[in-house]
């Protein structure tokens, strides 16, 4: 596949602390790729490195034939990769509409941005009604919706989500997963780092499990036999 | 610390160097004329002031822009007490000067040191300006007309007084901060306050202690300065330029090091006086100083002392500069 997003032998971390030790993984457009793993396993660190928020200490990041390694963060959205940080990363002092417009910042075209926003927001009746509410005063679930809608304004090839379910109620987690599926249906490749495996696993096309900064598992949901198997990967390592 | 240093050759060389320096400093007045001695006295004073500022700015990590207030408190206490209607002798005035400055430091230190970073800097500056304005409107300070002190014109007296005060400050700081518990407390507080607290260090107390100590030393030099120059007015002992000099000297010499302030203070003061006596004006000194500060921040955040004392710092510096190019 020419438009595969790949990391090869990635090593990175924060400051002097190496978190990710030599991880290789890939994701396809139109697929949902889930990364699971306990805290400190390096799963968020990997997508931060892809997004350019952290430098790759070694290894490569590529999108098809395009080298992404070392590109500054603001170029990623122009390469078709949007990342949603934990909690959605909405701007609390911006209204819903301003947040969505910010999503189209990289397009640098007001008309296209407004058109896309209007067509996107039609899917979110809650947001429709609260267009001019500051995002900071929305509930966590609503903020997540803003973030997802915002990620789509540039019509990206890949959306990376960092723990979209964190802090949400079970019902909202479910709704969020449905939104993620709808991204896939639009042909967007989704890379999702998640804690809530039970909710995320059913929607995943391919699954990675990291632990201690290493890849412990790669496959599809069918390769995971049951919870005990999963727990053993999680807790014991394989 | 209950440990006896071994007599390594390095230590012997160092002791010899220090011994030579002490002898040189003590013997200096015999070798130079009174004017040069005056410059040397000034250099000692600025080194001592830089040392005082460094306690709060370098070790505790609070950039104070209000130290002129304490210099002024010292100078004014001495000046007022030595007016003919009170008639105290110079040494008698030192104690009230130090006590008063410490009292003020304790009083304002608590609330002010809750502020961090730039907020603290602005607050101390505002405090110093407030005190400066207060001194100009009060009567017993002589207002803007200032105060004259009984002139005692023995250059040896002032040189040795400054030498003793300055040496005591440095030795005090060295013992207290490099060789005793207090130093660990204060440096821990600077680097990570919550972590220091979690290790049992009472950071609020340590902050105020260091502020008061710094204020006391600053005031001591203010007192000597007043007696030395024989005339003070609000701007000459409380003006922001006094603080500015202290900050720049420490920054240039090396924040949070024992000898950095001495290096910065002596070097800058001698440069200042040299430019002044050669060019008749020190205005050109200011922009050069400004550029030097900017460069130090960019390339040498540990100050000039790191070039001398630093182990691998020199290499680091060069690679940093080369990295920029």
């Amino acid at each position: 596949m020419s438009n595969e997003l790949r990391v090869d032998n990635l090593v990175t971390g924060y400051g002097k602390q190496e978190i990710v030790h030599d991880i290789t993984a890939s994701a396809l457009p139109g697929h949902i790729t889930c990364i699971f793993g306990p805290n400190g396993s390096g799963k968020s660190t990997v997508i931060k490195a892809i997004a350019g928020l952290l430098p790759a200490w070694s290894g490569r990041i590529t999108l098809g034939d395009t080298e992404l390694t070392g590109l500054p963060v603001h170029n990623m959205v122009r390469k078709g990769i949007v990342m949603m940080p934990q909690g959605g990363g909405v701007f609390p002092r911006f209204t819903v509409m301003e947040n969505l417009r910010m999503g189209g910042y990289a397009l640098n075209n007001r008309d296209i941005t407004e058109d896309r926003i209007e067509s996107l927001i039609a899917d979110y009746p809650n947001l429709q009604r609260r267009r001019n509410t500051p995002a900071g005063s929305l509930s966590g679930g609503e903020q997540m919706m803003v973030a997802i809608a915002r990620a789509l304004v540039t019509d990206p090839a890949f959306v990376m989500l960092d723990e979209p379910s964190a802090g949400l109620s079970p019902a909202l987690v479910h709704e969020t997963m449905q939104r993620v599926v709808s991204l896939k249906e639009r042909g967007v490749g989704v890379i999702m780092v998640e804690q809530n495996i039970r909710e995320a696993l059913p929607v995943a096309d391919s699954v990675y499990i990291f632990a201690g900064g290493k890849r412990k598992f790669a496959g599809t949901q069918d390769d995971i036999r049951d919870d005990n198997h999963l727990m053993s990967i999680y807790m014991g390592g394989t | 610390m209950a440990s006896k240093p071994d007599l390594t050759p390095k230590l012997i060389v160092r002791s010899l160097l220090i011994g030579a320096m002490v002898i040189a400093l003590v013997a200096l007045p015999a070798a130079i004329d009174p004017y040069t001695l005056r410059i040397a006295t000034g250099a000692l004073m600025w080194a001592g002031l830089a040392c005082a500022w460094n306690i709060v700015g370098g070790y505790a990590g609070y950039i104070s822009f209000g130290h002129s207030a304490f210099f002024g408190i010292g100078a004014y206490t001495t000046a007022i007490l030595m007016q003919s209607d009170v008639g105290a002798s110079f040494f008698v005035t030192l104690l009230p000067a130090i006590i008063l400055s410490m009292a003020v430091a304790v009083a304002i230190g608590g609330p002010t040191m809750r502020l961090r970073g730039a907020y603290f800097a602005i607050a101390t500056w505002a405090f110093a300006e407030m005190l400066l304005q207060l001194v100009t409107v009060l009567d017993f300070t002589g207002g803007t007309s200032g105060l004259s002190l009984p002139a005692y014109l023995n250059e040896f007296f002032f040189y040795y007084t400054m030498l003793i005060a300055s040496a005591a400050s440095f030795i005090g700081v060295w013992v207290l901060i490099e060789r005793s518990r207090f130093g660990f407390r204060i440096k821990a507080l600077r680097d990570d306050e919550p972590a220091a607290e979690s290790l049992g260090i009472r950071t609020n107390l340590v902050k105020v202690q260091s502020f008061a100590l710094s204020a006391a030393i600053t005031a001591l030099f203010g007192s000597i300065y007043a007696y030395w120059t024989t005339y003070i007015d609000p701007y000459s002992v409380m003006g922001p330029e006094i603080t500015d000099q202290m900050v720049v000297m420490v920054l240039l010499g090396g924040l949070g090091t024992v000898w950095g302030p001495a290096l910065g203070g002596v070097l800058l003061w001698i440069t200042n006086r040299y430019i002044w006596s050669t060019f008749g004006d020190t205005v050109i000194y200011l922009p050069i100083l400004g550029v030097i500060i900017a460069l130090v921040v960019l390339f040498l955040p540990n100050g000039l002392i790191s070039l001398i004392m630093g182990r691998q710092r020199g290499k680091e510096l060069i690679s940093r500069i080369l990295g920029k190019l």
Partner: protein, 419 residues
């Protein structure tokens, strides 16, 4: 000549000094000692008072140039040229003390000419005392300077408390019934404050009604002060300050549509900067000056006051004010005292003490007026003889209007266009 001199010194010191850095370059200053009188000038050549400091230097230099044209000061029939040395006080008392000590130790000066400001003078006095070097101050008008009874310091200009109150009284007398009230404002800094206090004393003594007396910090916004004066509307507004404040006051008052009936200031009204910056708005403004070129004084070296003014104008390009005149006259005092002392330079400590005694006994007439120093009281060693002149600006010219013996024109009151 003075320019060449300083440039040469600058070059020499910077070339030789770069290597020597700081310590131990006294050796460089050893000059071939012919029989010269070495005079040190401590004044603010830089810093906040740089402007006034340079005026004092001009005054001192002009005298040195003139006397050297004659071959120098005459002592016992022999002429001894004068050599000038400068120390920059940077407008800071401590730097002034540094400078004085440097001049005395390194340049071995025989006599000092004093600083521009009173603060620096107070810090230099003990140094001159310590080394027994007489110091003649052509500026420094604060009465504080003389309170400590400085044995070696002599002041040419009467302290402001002697001049401003007198001039206010002269003004009040001249105006008679036309003026009944006055307000006094001043900058809260030594000279300006004392000027304002002198004005206040004058107002009280002349029986005028003092409506308000207010000091304000240098650099403050004057709109509050002006608005307050406008609402009080006194007949006379007296201001203590330097020309910066006057310019600021005049322009703020104009912008607030206020023009007092009479405005009197002290130092700086006669300065070229003030008249230039305020333009026609300076018209009618009154000032106090201890000297103007129109006064009927004269001496052998400079001729009449007006001759002096012409000489200074041709030398520096601007008309001298009383500070420059007093500084030049300082030289005349030295000349006279040295002649009476009758000892050839260089002078040792004992001789310099005798010289100080000789200066103390000065009683001469100069283009600047009579000079004689008080030997006791609160104005010890201050030249209290000059009588202040009230001047008025008329179309850019400085015209003495009072007292009567000095008057060259009618005092205009109220100023035309007064609100």
């Amino acid at each position: 000549m003075s320019h060449k001199f300083s440039r040469r010194k600058f070059l020499r010191n910077s070339i030789l000094g770069t290597g020597a850095m700081t310590l131990g370059f006294p050796a460089l200053n050893v000059n071939a000692k012919e029989h010269k009188i070495r005079v040190g000038v401590v004044t603010s050549l830089s810093g906040a008072n740089r402007f006034g400091g340079n005026l004092t230097r001009r005054g001192y230099d002009l005298w040195a140039e003139e006397i050297n044209k004659l071959g120098g000061i005459e002592i016992e029939g022999e002429r001894y040229p004068v050599e000038m040395f400068y120390g920059d006080a940077q407008s800071r008392p401590a730097s002034g003390a540094d400078a004085a000590e440097r001049l005395i130790i390194q340049d071995e000066v025989d006599v000092l000419f004093g600083p521009y400001t009173s603060g620096v003078t107070l810090a230099v006095q003990p140094i001159s005392q310590k080394y027994r070097v007489p110091m003649i101050s052509g500026s420094a008008e604060s009465p504080n300077v003389w309170l400590a009874k400085p044995a070696f310091n002599f002041g040419m200009i009467p302290a402001v408390d002697l001049t401003t109150d007198k001039s206010m009284m002269v003004l009040a007398e001249n105006l008679g019934d036309r003026a009944k009230t006055a307000s006094v404002i001043g900058v809260d800094e030594p000279f300006s404050k004392e000027t304002a206090e002198g004005f206040r004393k004058g107002v009280e003594e002349s029986g005028l009604d003092l409506l308000s007396y207010e000091l304000f910090p240098a650099g403050s916004d004057l709109s509050a002060i002006v608005s307050k004066l406008k609402s009080e509307n006194p007949d006379i507004v007296a201001i203590g300050g330097h020309e910066d404040i006057f310019i600021n006051f005049v322009s703020t008052a104009k912008a607030l549509n206020y023009k007092p009936k009479a405005m009197i200031m002290h130092y700086g009204v006669t300065s070229a900067a003030f008249i230039k910056e305020t333009g026609t708005d300076s018209n009618g403004i009154l000032g106090v000056s201890v000297w103007t070129e129109g006064l009927p004084y004269k001496d052998e070296l400079f001729g009449t006051a007006s001759d002096y003014s012409d000489l200074s104008f041709s030398r520096w390009g601007t008309r001298p004010d009383y500070t420059e005149a007093a500084c030049s006259a300082s030289g005349l005092v030295l000349q006279d005292a040295a002649r009476r002392l009758g000892k050839a330079p260089p002078w040792d400590q004992g001789t310099r003490a005798e010289l100080a005694k000789a200066i103390e006994d000065t009683d001469i007439e100069t283009f600047y007026g009579p000079v004689g120093f008080a030997k006791e009281g609160n104005h010890f060693h201050n030249n209290t003889k000059p009588v202040p002149v009230v001047i008025q600006i008329k179309n850019g010219d400085v015209v003495p209007v009072a007292p009567e013996n000095a008057s060259k024109g009618e005092l205009v009151y109220p100023i035309p266009g007064t609100s």
